[in-house]
């Protein structure tokens, strides 16, 4: 079995969780970790069992032995870091949300096509056995048309204006962090909506703390989706 050399770009909390799971794959070799701080990369590599540690992302992608890079930096940097990897012919698994907006995502897809290099959003829901079962049930003609999708994702994180979830410079807000899960469910189950209405709740900082979303579908189906840090 061919073993792939995995690298981690960005050594935060989710990168740690991802590494624990990566160890379960027989064809994955935990090869390198990179952070803007070499010290942080070394400590992460040691904790999770990576062979190498880099103090810059450029060094990481210049290592010819890296096969796949998992991007674990904040949303605000997903485009830049994914394209850096793709331009160095590294396959990319980018943490969700893939980027801040459609324009950035299009640039990433363009880079993937140009470089003929693998790009994927790490959207795990689709692989959950429970969700697969839901899809199976939803497509059973005997159960009739799926009329509603109701999906909520809320949690109550610590309010820290410097951290990712509340720092607008790092792609803050509930929508990009957790709102994409309910949206994803609706997209997969019902397709692309014909009309959308939303009601966001913005903090004084401009950060979107909560958002309520209504999706309307031509065939008569509807979706009511929410996400919130409140």
């Amino acid at each position: 079995m061919k073993k792939y050399n995995w690298a981690i770009l960005g050594c935060g909390k989710i990168a740690g969780k991802f590494s624990s799971d990566l160890k379960l794959l027989k064809n994955a070799n935990l090869y390198a970790a990179a952070s803007r701080s070499l010290e942080r990369a070394k400590s992460f590599a040691e904790e999770h069992g990576y062979e190498k540690a880099y103090g810059s992302y450029l060094e990481l992608v210049q290592d010819p032995d890296v096969d796949v890079v998992y991007i674990a930096t904040p949303h605000s940097h997903h485009m830049e870091h994914s394209i850096l990897c793709l331009d160095h012919k590294k396959a990319v698994l980018c943490e969700k949300a893939l980027a801040l907006n459609a324009k950035e995502v299009e640039a990433m897809i363009e880079s993937s096509r140009k470089n003929k290099t693998f790009l994927m959003e790490a959207f795990w829901t689709i692989f959950q056995p429970k969700f697969k079962k839901v899809l199976e049930l939803a497509s059973d003609p005997e159960l009739g048309q799926l009329k509603f999708v109701k999906s909520d994702f809320m949690f109550n994180p610590e309010v820290d204006p410097d951290k990712r979830l509340y720092n607008i410079e790092l792609g803050a807000g509930s929508l990009l962090d957790i709102g994409i899960y309910p949206i994803f469910r609706s997209l997969v189950l019902l397709g692309k909506p014909t009309a959308i209405k939303t009601m966001p709740r913005l903090l004084n900082s401009g950060v979107e703390e909560s958002i309520f979303m209504l999706f309307d579908y031509e065939n008569g189906s509807m979706a009511a989706l929410t996400s919130s840090f409140a």
Copy 2:
């Protein structure tokens, strides 16, 4: 203890359920039932133990012994029947929804004031011990601000274009029949919203089968409400 003579105006299914509960009140006398059909009124009066039966609503309100009338006709007739009772100085408990729109409700309130006669919407949720407990919790300052109200009411009635729920002439639609419960909860818990967005699902007949509602509040609270027959 003074006993009040109760009358039922409209002898449908809910009127029957209401009568069963009315029997539990020590100060209530099940006095008269009226329907457009004398036969129906007689059969209802016999089944539920009312002393008298009337084949017209006018006869009912002209009976000087009637103290209180419970209006159990479709929404489309609540205004007409309530005002008929109020004009004959009968206290009115009108089944929800009180009427089809604010204009009708205003006319009813005006009639109640003019006649100095009691008018009340039969909105029972407020009297539920569980809901009282919710109100108590919601107003506990130690629990902080109530940020969200999420409330749904959905059921799947038989689709019959002649019957109340699907007949636009009789005030059809999920909003008036069940949507008012989630709305009520939001109004009582959070007050009057500063902005509302809705997404109704209309059938070809023009009947509103489902409606999703988002309420926004100045103080940062929000409500996501749904009702549906789908």
